[in-house]
Amino acid sequence: MSTDLNSRNTIEIDREEANFHYDVKYKHDAGMGLSEDTIDYIANVKGEEQWITDFRKKALGVFYKKKMPTHWASEDLNSINFDEIRYYLSAGEAPKRSWDDVPDEMKETFERLGIPEKERSFLAGVEAQFDSEAAYSNVKDAVAEQGVIFVNSSEGLAEHADIFRKWFGKVIPTGDNKFSALNSAVFSGGSFIYVPPGVKVKHPLQAYFRINSEQFGQFERTLIIVDEGAELTYMEGCTAPKFETTTLHSAVVELVAMKDAKIQYITVQNWSANVFNLVTKRGLAHENAEVRWIDCNIGSRLTMKYPGVVMKGAGARGEVISIALANDGQHQDTGAKMIHAADNTTSNVVSKSISVGEGRSTYRGQVHIPKHLKGCKNNTECDALLINSKSRTDTYPAITVRGNKHSTQHEASVSQVSEEQIFYMKQRGLSEAEAMSLSVNGFVNDLVREFPMEYSVELKRLIDLEMEGSVG
């Protein structure tokens, strides 16, 4: 009975339940707007080394120089007012190792979102970020004893500078795009993980990113290094309350899989409809290594996210499996980047998007296989489901294959839930919303199975809630 109760609690994260915030007294607030002073403020609060501050300032210059990518992306990006965003908010306390020490409002926030329960039931470690900094961070003893490091980015920089600095900004350079430059200038929080050679972390490590404040930007920076022959599954969840004003979430996530290593990175984001979610994610796979991105995008006003894998070593594998659900007033602009840079590398992209009402989904894919390589394979499948005639979907696949020693496969489909299907299901007694949910769940069913159990249940529930809200 008690197990039942627990498992129920762990799945009860939905938009309404996540729609709350606390009035927190922040000790540190960088104030509205962005300038070199903002960077000095952050660097001072964090007590960072000079090279980091220099890195940030250089990035700020790049951010100013880069144009908003509206020539290919949504014009809606122009609605972001960078002067009306607060770039750093924190309570000024180090992350706690025990929930008992976490300040009340933050503890309650994460309890309402079911995080401590999840940690008890199936996680190897948790980091819970509240606005700019982690409120809680802990890894189970058994995992720590294996030499696994799981801390936030500031701690990682301070205490593990040798490993951190070696890979920081190497997978995603500052100038990759305007938002990676912004993140590089003002980053705070995010995870730093190092898994030593041969260590296979059995249970997932989880980070939870919570935006609590209005007119705020969250810029976490995650760097995960999994050494030779080691394995890791990392999961991230994200929510924010509904505010009238816009909120910005702009993360940079870099993964490094050394020879024979495996990384699986799972995201379930359920942003409220005022959030601009502009995230850069890329993994570097060395010889025979594998990087898998499993990505579920629900909510937000505009999401732009194209997880990538650079297959640098022979025999490396890259995979992106993504589900995007664009409801009324939302635009999910997602996709994948697969860069083959060695022989016999294999990539797989499976993307499914659902557009509901006036929701819009876009798939952008890039697959690059140069001429001098041999034995590379790519499979790309992108399927779109439209729920009514006002919704929109676009597909922009760019597959560049040079040379003739490769094999690629590309399939795309657009389907619609037809009136006849809905009529049939309703005739069996299902309400319109139930019928829609069932069709949508059916559409993504094969991908949902890729998520760990606890997440697939949560995902199904999130889809049900989205569909309920979308029907009269």
């Binding site: 389907s415 037809s418 009136e419 006849e420 299907q421 009529f423 049939y424 299901m425 309703k426 005739q427 069996r428 007694g429 299902l430 309400s431 319109e432 139930e434 019928a435 069932l438 069709s439 769940n441 059916g442 559409f443 993504v444 069913n445 094969d446």
Partner: protein
């Protein structure tokens, strides 16, 4: 009160009137057959009763045990006890038969009450066995890639699982070979009871050899032009629909 009652029903599609004053009463415990030539309005009748949005009801009403169905949405009609076995059942990719049936059963429970999964599966397997359906079927997507016979069997399985008060079978015999027809008929016959009424819509007499009706009605140009005992079906088979149409002319 224990009747499915159609009263002077007029219905049109795209501005063309198809049903022109159809009246019929199907009491519980009886099986009524509705026969008629192509274009007489048989399938329209089935769709209008179920509430398909393409059909507009001009006047008249349909009562299920005294309650007007026309006031209700499609799914309410179903939960009230009306089942339609489709002539062309829709395919629902990715949704397994088991999940679909489970959702349909769950929709009949009060809020907060959960279906007993073990009992549900046991019941489903028992009923599948009666229809000669393989166990693997539960994991397949609803009607996707099914043969004509499999689709019709699935319609009957759904009917058995949902135990409606009244079932309308729309051309359930079309596309079936004789073996499949017998299995489907067995399923329907097993469902016959004092608590349930059937309206069997068919073009051919063949099905009625296996599902023997209590009454036969002949539909022509949106109206019932003749009602009679089961022998009427045989007579139609012999003489064709023109025989009655001519009779109609003579009468008028």
């Amino acid at each position: 009160m224990s009747t499915l009652e159609i009263k002077d029903l007029h219905a049109s599609v795209n501005g063309t009137e198809i049903l022109k004053g159809l009246s019929l009463s199907v009491p519980k415990g009886e099986v009524h057959a509705m026969m008629g030539p192509n274009g007489s309005g048989k399938s329209t009748l089935a769709k209008v009763m179920a509430g398909h949005q393409d059909y507009e009801v001009g006047s008249g009403d349909v009562f299920l045990d005294g309650k007007s169905l026309l006031e209700m949405d499609v799914d309410e009609r179903s939960r009230e006890g009306l089942f339609l076995a489709f002539q062309y059942p829709a395919e629902i990719p990715g949704v397994s038969n088991a999940n679909f049936l489970r959702a349909a059963r769950q929709a009949r429970l009060p809020d907060g009450e959960e279906i007993d999964a073990v009992a549900f599966y046991q019941e489903m397997y028992d009923k599948m066995a009666k229809l000669g359906i393989d166990k693997k079927f539960t994991g397949r997507s609803v009607n996707e890639g099914f043969s004509g016979g499999e689709k019709k069997r699935n319609e009957v399985l759904q009917m058995m699982m949902l135990e409606p008060k009244y079932a309308v079978l729309d051309e359930t015999d079309s596309g079936l070979d004789i073996d499949a027809l017998k299995i489907v008929a067995q399923g329907v016959n097993a469902m016959r009871s004092e608590e349930r009424g059937f309206l069997v819509i068919t073009h051919y007499q063949r099905l009625l050899e296996h599902i023997v009706p209590d009454h036969v009605h002949v539909l022509n140009e949106g109206r019932i032009i003749r009602s009679g005992p089961k022998e009427l079906a045989l007579e139609l088979e012999e003489k064709g629909y023109d025989w009655l149409k001519e009779g109609e002319l003579v009468k008028s």
